[in-house]
Symmetry: D2
Subunit: 152 residues, 4 copies
């Protein structure tokens, strides 16, 4: 449905919104200071987000934790919605379904979020998560629904 | 299926395993030092986990973040599986589906994990997440599947 | 959340609604004439539905098909919502997630639907599916979300 | 991951397998005689299935039922797996998650199934369902996991 969707925010505007609204998220989940996420690209119905990966995200055995990927997917979904409705609405996640597909490499993660629907009340999207540089072998696949408040 | 399942680890043993295997998880997700999770109870097919909630978990508007709840659910699922197969196996999440039901209060979260199946290859469970003291109004509901390695 | 929910329809009223609205569903999925579903019980936040199982539902190897269980779960979710908001609203499924847990026996299926939330815009519930008489070993577990139209 | 996957069955072979294994499925869900599914195309990691739609699939209000779409998605997932591992294995669905996105038109449905992973024990895929001729506006999106028996 990309051709019917037009972003209303630039990468700079969306990044500035997240820095202001979620200082801790951009600085890494929940308070750690050395990692974070970057909005890399906004397209019609899409947003690409990069998650810098550091030691703090690693599980025993040296892989990236599931919760790190879930947080990234949720972040990318929120970003793709705001990019298309603007920074005003207080949208909230109602459902997130993740399939973990293969072990990620120990490098940055890329999340490609795509809107499947942007309705008045519900937004539905999918997010593919890759290890940077290996975009044809997703490490996780997510679908998610956000509820959009009636007041927007 | 509770009556057919017998835990093989105590709360003390399981807690000790997590402290050793995931020092950062027990100290709070990803490096923050002031919050953490506690295994409170193990029963036939069940585990109850408490997530202490601090400022670092809060979203704008003062609610607990979705990723915090997803991380807690995954943690509780992993705990209930290990409690019943022992600390050896390297089980991995293959699927997690979460429905966010209502806004949590600003207090500790309780996760009640229950095994629906503990097979040789797959474990399936559900996790209800409550605000402490409001156990009849879940804030989120999760189902999840773990893959259990053949070598156990 | 059972104690806060009150059904507004009886088993007879709800059954009559389904017979009128979905003649083919009660007569068996999509036109077959020998099987069907029965609403057995309505409680606070709950509905129990029985699916009579005949040859037509069987897969090779003699088990009940996945789609039969998905249709039953969707039916039970719709029933539990209508039982609590009345037969007026045109609620629609927005999400359904099913975990198939074990092979069902070749006998009737029971679906226990439970509302986790009944909001103005969204209803969330879970459905456990059992083989009749084996209620402690679910064959499938479902969570589902319905969107409730603003006009109710 | 399309480029690493090679189908091992032709459309004719896969269709013949389904006719033999699921006579009732190809003749329409559960015994009705006038509708059915057609395997239209097999590619690397993909299968396209058409569902002919008739009166029997309609809900009140004249739309195609949710269970019809769930059955189609499950069928397409099974088809894409068999197309790549051959007709021998008895794979079973372990999880299916569906988001209903918009009301389908009253015409044939197309299901595009794509493998995200084809492992030794688990296959994960996604299925997009469209109304025939409107391939840029999916009516439903599905992710699903199949368990593949060790004996293949």
């Amino acid at each position: 449905m990309g051709h019917t969707l037009k972003p209303v925010m630039t990468v700079a505007e969306l990044s500035a919104f997240f820095v202001k609204a979620f200082p801790q998220a951009l600085a890494g989940e929940e308070g750690s200071s050395d990692v974070g996420t970057l909005i890399e690209e906004i397209g019609p119905g899409t947003v690409r987000v990069r998650r810098k990966v550091s030691e703090a995200n690693l599980r025993p055995g040296g892989t990236i934790s599931g919760p790190t990927m879930m947080a990234l997917a949720d972040h990318a979904m929120y970003a793709v919605i705001l990019a298309h409705i603007g920074p005003v609405a207080l949208a909230v996640t109602t459902n997130l379904n993740i399939n973990f597909i293969r072990k990620p490499a120990l490098c940055d993660l890329i999340a490609e979020a795509k809107l499947l629907k942007l309705g008045k009340r519900l937004a539905v999207g999918e997010v593919s998560i890759y290890s940077a540089g290996e975009e044809d072998a997703p490490v996780a696949h997510v679908t998610s629904t956000y509820s959009i408040p009636p007041t927007r």
